[in-house]
């Protein structure tokens, strides 16, 4: 017999109407109402302080507007320059003179583009001169920023900084170029003399090429790379077909791609459909930049080895065959290839059952030969995606995140994975509370990272408890918090997708 958590009464008599009525006492309730605070303008000290302040300002104005030195200074031209102010200085106040009617920055607002990924803050600063120390009613004060006061969040911010996909490194002779076949199936074709230094001067000798890729939504999540795209002021989430990060170095020196040269990256996709675009990540601008339309393709010599496959080449293409294929299960549990693609779950054909030789071959060819081909003229992070919105968005206000034992939980970011659409949505800070959007018709999981590499998660079943219509009534979200520290990528994946 389990230990009882509650006192249990069976068929307890209910109190009568009259008995309850005797407890009513509205007068007492009214008396207990806290009196509303007096409006501030009814306080005599408010008027005393306001009047005194106004008088001081008036006196100061009269005094300085007659000062000849001030008038001379006001006649001097002022310059406004932009300079990095990321030096770790103690906070100090600099007073500078600015003409009253000039277009001076009244408030120092930093846009995202002013905060670059290295954490240095760029902000307009008014030049100083020895006369600036004088006070004037026309002067403005700008607090010099230091790293201690402004700490921008890195743009690429992995949820588990110590658990990320590492680069594969390849040595390339710059003079001869190289074709690299990566273990992931991706092929990188580097032409001869493709490298240059920061000044554009061609480089010779051995270059280290670093490459890593993120093929699914989980790997994108672990990369910490934002997966949202702003199009005409509207924010979309990326549905990815694959993302890669390619860099090159020579010793400590950064290497660029030589002018007029392109490196070709042929990535084996999880999704071979052709409705994706190709984007490059602009880390300084903190946004994805559209490059071109992306297509998956294969070459004729590749396709000849799988001629038994039901591959439908797009008509009109002479030298290359564009594949728009889909692998799915037939009712007989065989694998087959179809015209369009958006849902491929398996990569390794050897684990499949009941497949004939042809079918196995077709599967192998699909992953081996259908590729997304990208021609890049600069190193960086690239993505094959298409932006998606929520099909049936429901907007909620979140009051708090709680554990199942009602402890409050706080995370800097909250991650929503739409498993149906394979989209990752990251909510930053207050955005989670104020404007949390999800699609109730899809399978979702929501989680945040707690100190000590722990995860708090709301699983698919938990979403049934959330409102399924827009509401401004604050919602509490109760999350499961296992007492487990996650140390490996596989452990995180197993836990999130179990």
């Amino acid at each position: 017999m389990s230990e009882k958590k509650y006192k249990i009464n069976i068929d307890r008599p209910q109190p009568s109407k009259e008995e309850i009525a005797t407890r009513q006492d509205f007068a007492k309730l009214l008396a207990a109402m806290p009196t509303p605070p007096k409006p501030i303008y009814k306080n005599p000290y408010f008027w005393l302080g306001t009047g005194g302040g106004a008088a001081c300002l008036l006196l100061a104005f009269l005094f300085f507007s007659r000062s000849p030195a001030t008038q001379q200074e006001a006649a001097k031209p002022k310059t406004i320059v932009s300079q990095p102010i990321g030096q770790p200085k103690p906070m100090e106040e600099k007073r500078t003179m600015v003409e009253k009617d000039s277009t001076r920055p009244k408030r120092l607002l930093l846009t995202e583009s002013q905060i670059n990924t290295e954490g240095t803050v760029y902000a307009p600063v008014i030049s100083t001169n020895p006369l600036d120390d004088r006070e004037s009613v026309n002067s403005i004060s700008i607090l010099a920023f230091s790293k201690a006061t402004v700490r921008p969040k890195p743009y690429i911010n992995p949820p588990f900084p110590k658990i990320t996909i590492t680069y594969s490194e390849y040595s390339v002779d710059a003079a001869s170029g190289k074709t690299i076949n990566c273990p992931t199936g991706t092929r990188i074709i580097i032409p001869a003399n493709a490298f240059a230094d920061a000044n554009g001067k061609p480089l010779q000798g051995s270059i280290t090429l670093k490459y890593r890729e993120y093929k699914d939504i989980f790997e994108c999540l672990m990369s910490g790379i934002p997966m949202s795209y702003d199009s005409a002021g509207k924010k979309y989430d990326f549905q990815t077909a694959g993302m890669f990060d390619i860099q090159a170095t020579r010793g400590q020196q950064t290497v660029a791609i030589a002018q007029g040269k392109n490196i070709q990256v042929e990535m084996t996709p999880r999704d071979a459909s052709s409705d994706f675009n190709f984007y490059k990540l602009d880390t300084n601008g903190r946004k994805w930049v559209y490059q071109s339309k992306d297509t998956s393709r294969a070459w004729p010599d590749d396709v000849t080895s799988i001629d038994t496959m039901a591959i439908n080449p797009i008509r009109g293409i002479q030298d290359k065959i564009f594949l728009t294929t889909k692998i799915s299960r037939s009712p007989m549990n065989d694998l087959k290839v179809e015209d369009t693609a958006d849902n491929i779950d398996t990569r390794d054909g050897s684990s499949e059952k009941d497949t004939s030789g042809n079918i196995q071959q077709s599967k192998r060819v699909y992953y081996g030969n259908a590729r997304h081909v990208f021609s890049i003229s600069g190193f960086g992070i690239y993505n094959s995606d298409h932006p998606c919105g929520f099909a049936h968005p429901v907007t909620l206000k979140i009051q708090s995140f709680q554990s199942t034992t009602f402890e409050k939980l706080q995370f800097p970011e909250t991650y929503l994975i739409d498993k149906t659409k394979k989209i990752l949505h990251i909510y930053y800070g207050l955005e989670t509370r104020e404007n949390f959007v999800y699609d109730p018709t899809h399978n979702n999981i929501l989680f945040g990272i707690l100190p000590g590499n722990k995860i708090a998660i709301l699983r698919e079943e938990g979403f049934a408890d959330l409102p399924h219509k827009d509401t401004v009534i604050p919602t509490n979200i109760r999350m499961e918090v296992p007492d487990q520290e996650f140390q490996t990528m596989q452990a995180v994946k197993d836990y999130l997708y179990k």
Binding site: I10, Q24, P34
Partner: protein
């Protein structure tokens, strides 16, 4: 030993009149709320109308009438204090009061969980047995009583509202801010879970 109860008898129990039945749709309640926002004394109408319902809601979860009275008083005090922020969104005003009372009760249980009491009505137990279609009522009745206190608080609340307070799903949904359908699905899932536990013990 409990006598077996037929299906018809159980259905009759389910439709038995509920003690705290609200007096039907209230015309002009919005106007009353607006008036109370302007003048606290106008809140008396709402207080008198809903006092009994809120009191019974609190007492259902407690063992002491005085404590239920305190919770009820605190509920109305909070409601009056925050009435300016209340916006009528089509839900009955009393649901808002139930939610405040629920929060007050949660606070109380957090301070002292011994106050939490489970007041079970035999008719409610029989209705549940009927829903989960177990016919051996006498044999399963005691197991049901064993299992009920083990339910998590949120599940227990649903069962309590449905079977011991005999609230319709619509009202449960309004109180818990979920849809009527969702309330129904949740209750039946809990019953399903309970059935598994009861029969597995068998």
């Amino acid at each position: 030993m409990h006598m077996p109860i037929t299906h018809n008898e159980t259905k009759n129990m389910q439709v038995a009149p509920r003690p705290p039945a609200p007096p039907g749709p209230i015309l002009g309640e919005e106007a009353e709320i607006e008036a109370a926002k302007k003048d606290n004394r106008q809140f008396a109408v709402l207080y008198t109308r809903y006092y009994e319902q809120v009191y019974r809601f609190a007492y259902q979860r407690l063992d002491s009438k005085d404590l239920a009275g305190d919770i009820c008083a605190q509920t109305f005090l909070n409601a009056m204090t925050h009435l300016q922020g209340y916006q009528h969104k089509g839900l009955p005003f009393v649901c808002w009061l139930y939610r405040i009372a629920g929060n007050e009760l949660q606070q109380l249980f957090r301070k002292n969980s011994r106050h939490r009491t489970l007041n079970i009505e035999t008719s409610g137990i029989h209705a549940m047995m009927d829903e989960i279609e177990v016919d051996n009522l006498g044999g399963y009745h005691d197991r049901m009583l064993d299992i009920l206190p083990d339910l998590p608080e949120d599940e227990l609340q649903l069962i309590e509202m449905r079977y011991f307070e005999k609230r319709p799903f619509k009202e449960i949904g309004d109180i818990l801010q979920i849809t009527e359908n969702n309330a129904k699905v949740k209750v039946y899932r809990i019953l399903e879970k309970m059935k598994k536990r009861i029969t597995s013990k068998n």
